[in-house]
């Protein structure tokens, strides 16, 4: 399979890349890891006239924490970098749980977190994780930088709010105000398959109480679903069997799964409930050990 013909540019700076996009207009696409874009182009679901490959732009492959704990992930930071990250392992349980579950090990060598969020596939794992953590995307365009909350970033399946001449340069995860716990669970038929269903849970606790909670669902609707009511049911009190059951039920309620070859809608809803329960029960056990 071949993509349609396209012009290809590999700029060495962001300014140059943005200029190229400005001239390329609606028919230009940014290429980072390419693990979603290239398959889409081969299948002719996407036929851009111009590809702006940002892999030669220096200084985008980082992930680092600011002194205040804010985490920044550059547009060329690969899934494999995050999977091996000591920083994530020690400070970001939800992200550390998700990183090894993205696609397969070879795809993880090239694919990027920022690209995955931009791709806005309802079955993309990182979008749920970033949403649950209250993260945002920083975009750069001709007019400068702007920060877009993950909750406002995706407008529908495979659609985001970026202007045609904007590039998503980093994802930002705000610093925790409490102790982080949580996780990511994904049911897949085999390694590398899209999620039958996935759940991201990000908690912060202080003084035994949950002070912030985020829950987001992968692959059970037309876009990534933020289970706001489920998360709110956890805040302002310690985790308990009762609050865990309530949150799991509320999360399953907002899921909008469709029956397909991966399973029935009912089955997927059941998975959501089970995963929320499972992650929260583990988080509770971790908190007890820490106390």
């Amino acid at each position: 399979m071949y993509p349609s013909r396209f012009r290809y540019e590999a700029p060495r700076s962001l300014d140059e890349a943005i200029d190229l996009l400005r001239l390329g207009g609606d028919y230009a696409k940014v290429l980072a890891g390419g693990q979603s874009l290239i398959p889409l182009m081969k299948l002719r679901f996407a036929s851009p006239e111009l590809i702006v490959d940002i892999n030669n732009v220096p200084g985008l492959d980082y992930h680092r924490a600011d002194p205040d704990g804010t985490l920044r992930i550059g547009a060329l930071c690969r899934h494999a970098d995050l999977e091996r990250s000591a920083l994530l392992a020690s400070t970001q349980p939800t992200m550390a749980a998700a990183a090894p579950l993205i696609a397969d090990p070879i795809v993880r060598n090239r694919g990027t977190l920022v690209g995955s969020v931009c791709h806005a596939d309802p079955q993309g794992d990182w979008a749920s994780v970033v949403l649950a953590l209250g993260g945002s995307i920083v975009a750069r365009g001709p007019g400068g930088r702007r920060t877009i909350r993950a909750a406002d970033f995706v407008t529908g399946p495979f659609q985001n709010v970026l202007d045609p001449d904007e590039i998503a340069v980093e994802a930002v995860i705000p610093a925790a105000k409490g102790i982080r716990s949580g996780g990511y669970l994904k049911l897949e038929r085999r390694v590398g398959d899209f999620a039958t269903a996935g759940v991201a849970v990000a908690l912060e606790t202080a003084g035994g109480n949950v002070i912030r909670a985020g829950i987001a669902l992968t692959g059970v609707g037309g876009s990534t679903i933020e289970a706001t009511a489920a998360a709110e049911a956890l805040v302002g009190k310690p985790l308990s069997a009762g609050s865990i059951e309530q949150a799991a039920g509320l999360a399953a309620e907002v899921a909008r799964p469709r029956s397909d070859h991966r399973g029935s809608a009912e089955f997927k809803r059941h998975i959501v409930r089970t995963f929320v329960e499972r992650i929260l029960t583990r988080a509770d056990a971790t908190a007890e050990r820490a106390a």
């Binding site: 396209f6 012009r7 590809i51 490959d53 892999n55 397969d104 090990p105 070879i106 795809v107």
Partner: protein, 173 residues
């Protein structure tokens, strides 16, 4: 090097986007002129006539086309040939020397790690990337590292044994 493209009569030849790239493959420096949409797998197979790299599914699932790009395993059907510009590619042909098989190749032979052999080049390249970073992997490490490579014959058991065999031989060298 010449690559002949399909002509769909839809564009003047001079309008077909082409780029000149410079890269290293199995230690040899090359310059190629490639159509921008050419996939790395096709540059390797059709341009360089290195047909050890197989294209299986062509949809980023099977891993038969796995090669190393700057030492990292990559599915070459999911990377553009133009993106190889300035990079170092290793294919399965880069494993053996003129006189000796690579321990991975020996391992697959000794432990019967292949049946039809279609997935084998991809398995070996993914295994090479693993052993380069982890010379003493557990069976679990190997299964994890090869989980992006599909085999429809062996049931994986002997592939894992082959990689363990190779790891031991490499450690003893």
């Amino acid at each position: 090097m010449t690559i002949v493209y399909e002509d769909h009569d839809d564009q003047a030849a001079s309008d077909v986007p082409v780029r000149r790239i410079r890269f290293t493959i199995n230690g040899q420096k090359k310059i190629a002129e490639v159509e921008t949409r050419l996939l790395l797998a096709h540059l390797i197979r059709q341009g360089l006539k290195l047909t050890g790299t197989h294209t299986g599914c062509d949809t980023t699932n099977c891993g038969a086309c796995t090669v190393l790009v700057d030492g990292r395993a990559v599915k070459s059907c999911t990377m553009l040939a133009v993106q190889a510009d300035g990079h170092e590619i290793t294919t399965v042909e880069g494993l053996a020397t003129a006189s000796e098989l690579h321990p991975l190749q020996e391992g697959f032979k000794e432990e019967h790690g292949l049946q039809c052999g279609f997935c084998t080049p991809g398995m070996m390249m993914a295994a090479k990337a693993l052993l380069d970073s982890n010379p003493d992997p557990t069976e679990e490490d190997i299964r994890w590292a090869l989980s992006g490579n599909l085999c429809r014959c062996t049931g994986y058991q002997n592939i894992v044994k082959s990689v363990l065999w190779a790891a031991e031989k490499l450690r003893s060298q």
